[in-house]
């Protein structure tokens, strides 16, 4: 059996910052990620990020991932396990079951655990939603930005949140024609600057529209046509408002939900908070869940942004280390700084939804 002082599960922005913060306090960290490289969602983000200098604003996501991963790799207090998926947590003895490179089975006993597993994509129900050519936004990004393969020629993007807008922009950069971006909500959910960026490219954004059906090519069986229709203010589709798009790709970007299996297995108290993307763990301001010694950070704790994921990660890492007795006297100050930064990030109107969700979680 392997032993770790602090196991961090997930090497996205939250997990990377958690590992670095705990190591900075002097704790020994084992960082586990199922991918072959660190960075989580960041490795697919070719655009420059928002936030402030503390969260590497104005640097591309992919470069932020690289900067943090480099720091992790050269930190002597951090050991990384890549291609390693944590598939089980045994609450009785607090042991993690890890599948390494799909062949080895490793058991690890950790004194503290930070779960930073991120989120998974939501799907959408409509007729023929399983045709070849219909992808989640994450899959499209992986194809394009990790493997350099374009998904097709003409795309209908479903979802005008930040992900739908950004992936549309990236598709256009790759020379793929985005015919339209639709969203069932009456207004654009993503940042207006992202919306203006794609509007300037001539991509129409249609709010109050949803997918009616998708139709295959008779020969190939792959997507050939998508039909959308308008929804009224009670979200009911309006017959007669159909529009047809001849597209070979439909990209679904309708939101994310926390990837919380391990937290359920551990018996952490969970709460359904739609503003945070679904079921999220109840935790205190150290990011510790109701199960002592298990901390959370990032999208798994509530779907938000990389900037806030980093600050939550830092908090979780600092606190986990502190609880093991690692504190050179700087803990309170560092914790207060991270809390303040989180509060700043969430203080504006676009943070309203998150604030509401967090208030519900704390009640």
């Amino acid at each position: 059996m392997k032993h770790a002082e602090i196991a961090v599960i997930g090497g996205g922005p939250a997990g990377l910052m958690a590992a670095l913060a705990a190591a900075e306090m002097g704790a020994k960290v084992t960082l586990v990620d199922r991918n072959s490289r660190l960075g989580g969602q960041l490795v697919k983000q070719t655009h420059k990020f928002f936030g402030s200098e503390k969260e590497y604003a104005s640097i591309r996501g992919i470069d932020i991932g690289r900067i943090l991963a480099t720091e992790v790799h050269k930190n002597p207090n951090i050991e990384t396990m890549l291609n390693s998926t944590v598939v089980a947590y045994y609450p009785d003895d607090g042991v993690l079951g890890i599948e390494v490179e799909e062949k080895k089975w490793v058991k690890m006993k950790a004194e503290r655990i930070v779960v930073a597993t991120g989120a998974s994509e939501k799907y959408l129900l409509f007729e023929n939603n399983d045709l070849p050519g219909i992808y989640g936004a994450g899959a499209v990004q992986t194809l394009m930005n990790e493997h350099g393969v374009v998904p097709g020629k003409n795309v209908l993007m479903v979802g005008a949140g930040n992900i739908g807008l950004i992936v549309s922009y990236q598709l256009m950069q790759a020379g793929v024609n985005v015919k339209a971006i639709i969203d069932a909500a009456p207004s654009i959910g993503g940042y207006w600057v992202h919306a203006s960026k794609v509007a300037r490219l001539g991509v129409p954004i249609l709010t109050s529209y949803t997918v009616k059906a998708a139709y295959p090519n008779e020969m190939t069986g792959a997507l050939e046509r998508a039909v959308i229709w308008r929804v009224d203010d009670r979200w009911q589709p309006v017959p007669g408002t159909e529009k047809v798009f001849n597209v070979d790709v439909m990209c679904i970007a309708v939101g994310l939900s926390p990837l919380a299996e391990l937290l359920w297995q551990a018996g952490c108290k969970m709460m359904y908070v739609p503003e945070l993307g679904g079921h999220v763990p109840v935790r205190n301001d150290n990011m510790e869940t109701t199960v002592s010694g298990i901390y959370v950070a990032g999208d798994v704790a509530g779907v938000e942004e990389a900037s806030s994921a980093m600050m939550e990660g830092r908090l979780a890492g600092l606190s986990a280390a502190k609880s093991l007795g690692y504190d050179d006297g700087t803990y309170e100050e560092k914790k207060a700084e991270a809390l303040k930064e989180l509060e700043n990030l969430r203080s504006g109107p676009v943070g309203g939804k998150i604030r509401k969700g967090l208030a519900q979680l704390a009640s």
Binding site: F50, S58, Y191, W192, R200, L201, L345
Partner: protein, 165 residues
């Protein structure tokens, strides 16, 4: 309307357009960022202090029209690609518009390109005067294009090599 299609209306834009007297004096930044979001690199990028420091990271940027020299150093630092510099003194008939352009191929200096409005519609032709694409721009090249003066507040994008759609 910004909230429904990402295209600002004339009313939404109006507060961002500098007065004619200022435009007559030379290049100036126009920041088309209309929503309070947690973001501030524009204010840290500006070295003349023309973009006031934010008290709250969610503040909207505002340009001090007297301090702004139109240097354009803020353009590539804005992750929203929302900053443009307009110089209405470029020539008698033409204005120079500097804009962020993250597409390939990049235009060559001297090349004629289609110029597009905020909805991506082609509104005329313009001549590329300058392409800045160094380490500072970090792969967000800044293209300066000369356009008929009456289009200075209309042109916000270019298309190189014709419509590929």
């Amino acid at each position: 309307m910004l909230a429904t299609n990402g295209i600002p209306t004339a009313e939404e834009l109006a507060p961002r357009i500098p007065p004619a007297e200022r435009l007559k004096k030379g290049p100036v930044a126009i920041i088309e960022c209309f929503q309070k979001i947690p973001c501030n690199p524009c204010s840290t990028a500006c070295k003349t202090g023309a973009i006031e420091k934010f008290e709250d990271i969610n503040d909207l940027p505002s340009v001090d029209l007297e301090k702004c020299t139109g240097c354009g150093l803020c353009i590539s630092k804005c992750p929203g690609l929302a900053i443009f510099v307009v110089d209405e003194t470029y020539s008698e008939m033409e204005a120079a518009v500097s804009l962020p352009f993250e597409f390939l191929p990049l235009p060559a200096e001297g090349e004629e390109v289609d110029v597009l409005d905020r909805s991506g519609k082609t509104v005329g032709r313009g001549k590329v005067i300058r392409v800045r694409n160094g380490k500072y721009e970090d792969r967000t090249p800044v293209v300066t294009v000369a356009v008929p003066k009456e289009l200075s507040m209309v042109v916000r994008n270019i298309r190189v090599g014709g419509d590929r759609r």
